[in-house]
Amino acid sequence: MISGEGLGEVKKIITMKDHSKIIKESQEEKNRFFTRRHFLKEASFGFGGLALANLLGGCNFNDSTAASNILFDPANPLLPRSPMFAGKAKSVIYLHMAGAPSQLELFDYKPELMKMDGQDCPQSLLEGKKFAFIRGVPKMLGPQAKFKQHGESGAWISDYLPHLSTIADEVSFLKAVTTDQFNHAPAQLLMHTGSPRLGRPSMGSWVTYGLGTENQNLPGYVVLTSGGRNPDSGKSVWGSGFLPSVYQGVQCRSEGDPVLFIKDPEGMSRNLRKASIDAINKANQQEYEEYNDPEILSRISQYEMAYRMQIAAPETMNINDEPAYIHEMYGTQPGKACFANNVLLARKLVEKGVRFVQLFDWGWDSHGTSEDGSLSCSRCSKIAKQKKNISHVYT
């Protein structure tokens, strides 16, 4: 999914066209899940078994009310769960171009607007509204890009998207979204949480709350940012709102530790970390024998998982070892916090079973007249470059 919060009245989202391939995959996935679930249910004793049985007991396909009653097991909050209805997609990559390149320059062709280029804005569009930074009666600006129809669907796509236009038939353009939020921060919040004000869970939180994640060695909801700044509305756009905070997005970084606190301290080798976790778990086992609290068993497994995550996350987040043609294809620059790297990472993460990957690329604000803010020129190169990696992640 690609979006931007936009400054105009209309916001657009592109979603990927559903493939029969994906449907089949999800069906297989469901079978696999069902079998494993069944096994775990039967074998639910010992380690964390109680909580697990409780959770799985509620996950009966034929009883949707029971499933919705028990969605959250605090001891294993991210275990994969099957949806109430067979879904077509199994994971989501959501690219948000913060600041928003105008859809009117990309895929929402407005011939009428072209005709009005340079004329005064009609009063009917201005009456009773307040706009930031606009004084007097502004002039209309027609599309600066050149539009052409592409693919069998005949989708109108501008020449700002030379790569995306080659996969015109693989994408769905949703041109039905409007907003009353014309400022970045509230618009981003509305886009990601359904409300222009803070305090609600983001889309990824809902998805991981409802479905868990496939790979317990990686966070279920990963956020990657580029462009040098966080989105205008801050981390709230991947916050968990009123859901437990375990469902908030985990920001992975392409510089520094890929996940906060994942790196062992300087001077601690993997062997020593292993020895240390072994000692912790041994002592915790003692604790369990004394207190019999199943929570202790989940802590033991969380420490084992943390140890595995310390290996899995940096491995997945490392793009240095990708073959040259991949770097060429995505335009990646290993070691830098850039959008191309994040797009490639997103793909790697969902391939590893991460449920929801959210990308933010800051710096797409394009309503000014300055060198890097004007619509007419500066962004073209950015768009051209970046849409290239986008076209690859979805194919």
Partner: protein, 912 residues
Amino acid sequence: MRIKRSNKVIVIITLLLMIGVAWYFFLRPQDKIDFNTQVKPIFNKKCISCHGGVRQKAGFSLLFRTEALAPTESGKPAIIPGNAAGSELIKRITANDPDERMPYKHDPLSKEEISVLKKWINQGAEWGDHWAYVSVKETAVPDAIEEGWNKNGIDNFVLQQLNEIELTHSPQADKNVLLRRASLDLIGIPPSENLSKQFLNDKSDRAYENLIDSLLSNKHFGEKWTSMWLDLARYADTKGYEHDATRKIWRYRDWLINAFNKDMPYHEFLTEQLAGDLMPDADEDKLIATAFHRNSMCNDEGGTDPEEFRTASVIDRVNTTWEALMGTTFACVQCHAHPYDPFKHDEYYKFMAFFNNARDENTEFDYPLLRHFSDSATEKLSELVSWLKINADEKRINEIEKFIKTWQPSYNSVVFDEFVNTELGDGRRVMLRNKSVSRLKNVELSNKNHFIFRYDAFVNNGKLEIHIDKPDGPLLSSIRLDKGKPGLKITGNDFVSPQGVHDLFFTYTTTAALKEKDEDCAMIEWIHFTQKFPGEGKPGYAEMKKRFWDLLQLQMPTTPVMMDNPDDMFRPTNVFERGNWLVKGDEVNADVPKSLNPFPNAAPRNRLGMAMWLTAKENPLTARTMVNRVWEQLFGMGLAETLEDMGTQGIQPVHKDLLDWLSWRFMHENKWSMKKLIRDIMMSATYMQQSNVNELLIEKDPTNKFYARGPRVRLSAEQIRDQSLAVSGLLSNKMFGEPVMPWQPKGIWLSPWNYEDWKISKGEDQYRRAIYTFWKRTAAYPSMLSFDGVAREACQARRIRTNTPLQALVTLNDSVYLEAANYFAIKLLKEDAGNINTILKKAYATAMLHEADEKSLAALNNLYQTALKNYTNNKEETAKLLANNENKKPEAAALTLVVNAIFNLDEFVMKN
């Protein structure tokens, strides 16, 4: 045919039996159906989503009795009391035709459910109020007593339920377990060495009681309990939204700590936070308390509508008041009548009217602010007040003093509404451009002859004129604006009052050479209409007038506070149709929902009156909510688990009677003392039980709702950090003051258009209690978020505890925990030259307050030996691990690793 005698007997017996059965089924008095426990749950589950507060299909609603018995769209009522067979409701739930049968397109009601509804209608279809909406009544303590176990009334309630489900309570926990549990619960950190010794050596019967009392009077008590309150108050050190810039509101946090420490009675505690400014003896402290409701967020992003975000703050205050203080999801009522609970749509807005007249208007500087005077400035002010006492009446003195302390009441620039050649600019200030006009509507000018305003000018030779009613209307006043000193300035001018209410037009012209036609030449931030400084011609007039202006201009720290509009600036409140603030419905007056206790007779219709209503002993929700919350802090789960919702959709408490008994006692016997409430609970045998679990307990009571064992709960984010620092000896004892910035990874703060940085605090400020950590809403302290800390964008009634690998990574790898481990290891090595076993035992015992069992000790010793071998052979790694230490011995490195492991043990992050 003759019937044998024996057969006769059988026939008679059979007949008698038949009569008996018939009597049983047809004639016996029917069991009384209870609306709340038997009927309401069926309605809530099966009916109310179509026939309730949100939707009333076919004109039928089951929310209130009057609605349920009223004629529906068909013209007939659906329920006829006393006549189930004739009631449409029964016909429809038993109909065969799927188009007729209710619930429509859903599974039919079960036979039992239908039978309950039939009986209920036949018995008169009586309504019942949900327990949480009925005032707390005095509840008798049950007589369940076990010789030698019960310590107070709580235990009788618990024992009674335990007997019913055939569970026995657990034995009392060991002294050292109780010591750690009580200390973490009361002061948030482990006990001091002295206190531990005192308690463990105290062999008297009063030992535990002494411990509790000593902890209750400890100054850190306030810090622990404030940390709970901050989530409710959505306290943060930033304003939220895009810029998320710093807000200085920490004096409110300090007010809380002091209030908890001095055991301010809960009703006063709430009244001061809700309405301290309106109390007759409102002093600086009481004003700071009102910052409770100034923790709502503020959006000053260019182009946003300030009225939208002012409204959002007011709504947030309403929702917070209900969720935090009255355990009710009142927010639902914004858009429609409550779907499940007895609150009507317009009641939301009536309640909102209590908050809607507040001065706050979502301004960049967070007005109204309380200005904190230094000692010398206070002295100057009191001299001025003394002088005024001779030369002005009391009303004027109060006005002047209030204005000097708060710059209120003033019209903020955001309320200017019409502009020619200009607009509200950056920070939503009125921009004065050459030949511009800006309108300020509806200003009461009767008996006023002076205005004071805060402005800045960027060019010289500007002329600001104020015209009455039209841009070219009569001139009220004219003033010259020059650049002067850089920064915002305050000035004023006299005028002749035209009397009455007028629209004012501010015109600006300048003779300065301008670069652009629409260059910003000056700006206005606020304007205050008043009377001339009093005492003209009296001795000292010139000096005191100058002092007045000096004090007004003096730069000083501030705190955002609540303050209401004066009568001539009163802001009316309307219902928002379907919750849309742009679609205003009927105007409403401040009131409280009819289904709860009545508004007190003598109370004023403002926030103070609302606080009086909320803290009235008849209010069914206030005491229960707090008792439930305190219980949750101690047991990990509230008596009613859903702290945020005690209504019919909340999880119903097993121990409702206990909740009521404690609530009654809290209000009536303990006079709202929070410390006594906490003490009551902690002195119970229930609290003092061991927390060990076994198969039977897991089977019968997995979540410990019946309290057959003591609480075993993971520590909060704050406790986890504070405990590691405390045990290591690094924790600073310093209390209060500006928030601090302990170490956090780089790159956490990356807000756009905000150039503030996380600058790591120096010295002991790095090791302060977690509660003093700078809390930025859009990028809160990451390691605390991992342990379920909340962003504090809105009120959060409870934190949901999770258990994730990311938490393990925090305590394993966050520098704070490593530094604490390292500090502790070095200290242990310095203190004790004994063998490693002794040192490890000491480390463990210091952390857990009891001796290590052999197997755990062996595991730690094993780790130590492995680490020692590694570091002895690998000087480079040793140097890295001990980078910040003079001590570079492999022993120090190895012990650091072991202490780090101890800080990660389950027992350490849990309260046992």
